[in-house]
């Protein structure tokens, strides 16, 4: 009886990875993402402060909004004074900025990159397109609501939002983080099956593992 339980739990733990051929299955990890609860409160507050003060954003321009990220680095807006820095690898970054509309092609990369970031991780969705599709609301190829696919912490509206509003969004994010409310990572793990179902519904050529570690 006990043994069977363990087997079932294990089955639940491991992902099917149906999108991969048998040969490739051995090359990808099939572990499920797990909810990692926060540590003791005081300690977690300190960590949240540090997380808020050091936001490394993934240098991945997913849409037209990426053009707005460049001015942020310049001397005019200088995001570095807020502890924000670009980082080329998702492994090392904590903020993912969805730069505007996400096409079917991009969403696959977005999901992959998001899953490869180590939690806690935060998402800022930029522009109207990410909220409801914006001017592409009826496009056959554009994602309307990005938070059906990955959890979003902050939406910055506009088409396009100016760097100032982006900075405001960052500050809002910082507040959320400090308050301990920006927990998209655990949310994603908790509702993993739902997110995955949504993702797989629109991404037809699913040739990745179910969770991209």
């Amino acid at each position: 009886m006990e043994k069977k339980d363990i087997n079932e739990v294990e089955k639940q733990m491991n992902l099917a990875n149906d999108g991969l051929s048998d040969k490739e299955k051995t090359l990808f990890s099939d572990a499920r993402p797990q909810v990692v609860p926060p540590v003791h409160k005081i300690f977690e507050n300190f960590r949240n402060w540090a997380r808020a003060q050091s936001l490394w954003m993934l240098a991945f321009g997913t849409g037209c909004g990426a053009i707005e990220l460049r001015p942020l680095m310049t001397s005019r807006y200088d995001m570095s004074r807020y502890g924000i820095a670009p980082r080329p690898s998702p492994r090392q970054s904590s903020v993912f900025i969805i730069g505007g509309y996400a096409s079917l092609k991009t969403i696959k990369r977005i999901v992959r990159s998001y899953e490869q970031m180590q939690g806690p991780k935060f998402v800022i969705a930029l522009g109207s397109c990410t909220i409801n599709g914006g001017m592409y609301y009826d496009s056959y190829y554009t994602i309307n609501r990005i938070d059906h696919y990955i959890p979003v912490d902050i939406y910055v509206t506009g088409c396009m939002p100016r760097p100032e509003s982006l900075l405001a969004g960052f500050n809002k994010l910082k507040e959320r983080i400090r308050a301990g409310r920006a927990d998209g990572m655990n949310k994603y793990a908790e509702n993993f099956d739902w997110y995955k179902k949504n993702q797989k519904r629109i991404i037809k050529d699913w040739n990745m593992p179910d969770y991209n570690w």
């Binding site: 960590r47 200088d78 004074r81 080329p88 180590q118 990572m185």
Partner: protein
């Protein structure tokens, strides 16, 4: 001196050096920002970054060597630092310099590099070996002028004992190697540009070409370990250069002033120049600095 006191001293020494090194990093960022006309991050930003990186809830590991890579790297930094006598005449900052001389320090630098290269290699990302290949190749070239300069020192002072080299430079500012053997200092300082991997020699991390290269797969505490080491290692290298070429230090303040100024040299060069292509960078080291290094040897040995 019993071993526990020694270890206690070493801990103090290491902590101070690490903090100093990280702060130096913050200052550099600030300076870069000012050169760009920005405000820049706070000086303590490196510390926050390290805490934040440690605060990641999940770490992805590719295997045991990947796990140990940052450990090797940090151990390399620690070891390098611990084999250098930091402050002349101080028991606390003498570290473990009695275990070996300058050659030990020069070779211990490789310990961390090799370990890190192996750890990054197990990560399996193609950019890691690309970056490592660049880094190792560049290392072979900037080591040449540096080695020549060190040989010149050995000829000049008849010793490879760092403490003895510092002792020989005491007394007057004119006793510094900088004035007694300027060629050796020039060669070594140019090779330091390569060692610190600021532009124009920043071909290893090169964010635009091979997104930060070797540590691309490093995350969470692995990355934090690397960042901590970066602070310590910079401090160690600067102290080594200070000891060898700029008369060493008799107290902490002198040490901080001197190493800061030494570091500023490479920072200013870095802020002012764009990046070389790999083979340009390497050929550069094999030309002028090497010739200067040879001149420095001729200068002390045969003139």
């Amino acid at each position: 001196m019993d071993i526990w006191t020694k270890i206690f001293y070493a801990v103090i020494s290491v902590v101070i050096a690490t903090i100093y090194g990280l702060a130096l990093g913050g200052v550099v960022r600030k300076i870069y920002a000012r050169v760009h006309g920005r405000y820049g991050p706070p000086v303590w930003q490196p510390f926050i970054d390290i805490i934040k990186t440690h605060a990641k809830r999940v770490a992805v590991s590719h295997g045991i060597m990947f796990y140990l890579g940052p450990v090797f790297r940090f151990a390399g930094g620690l070891g390098t630092y611990l084999f250098i006598p930091v402050i002349f005449g101080s028991a606390v900052f003498a570290n473990f310099s009695m275990a070996g001389d300058l050659l030990l320090v020069m070779y211990f630098i490789f310990f961390g590099q090799l370990g890190m290269a192996l750890g990054a290699g197990e990560g399996g990302h193609p950019y890691s070996p690309l970056g490592i290949a660049r880094g190792l190749s560049q290392m072979t070239t900037f080591e040449v002028p540096f080695a020549l300069s060190v040989i010149a020192l050995a000829i000049q002072y008849h010793t490879l004992n760092i403490t003895a080299i510092v002792a020989a430079q005491q007394g007057s500012i004119l006793n510094w190697t900088l004035f007694t053997n300027p060629f050796a200092v020039v060669a070594a300082m140019i090779s330091m540009l390569g060692m610190n991997m600021h532009s124009p020699f920043s071909i290893v991390l090169a964010p635009q070409e091979i997104p930060i290269g070797p540590p691309i797969e490093m995350n969470s505490s692995f990355l934090a370990t690397l960042q901590t080491n970066r602070g310590l290692f910079v401090a160690a290298k600067l102290i080594l250069f200070m000891n060898l070429y700029f008369g060493g230090a008799t107290n902490l303040v002198v040490m901080i002033v001197k190493t800061f100024l030494i570091y500023m040299f490479s920072v200013f060069v870095g802020a002012a120049f764009p990046r070389f292509r790999p083979e340009q960078a390497m050929r550069f080291f094999l030309k002028w600095p090497t010739i200067i290094g040879i001149i420095s040897i001729i200068f002390v040995a045969y003139l």
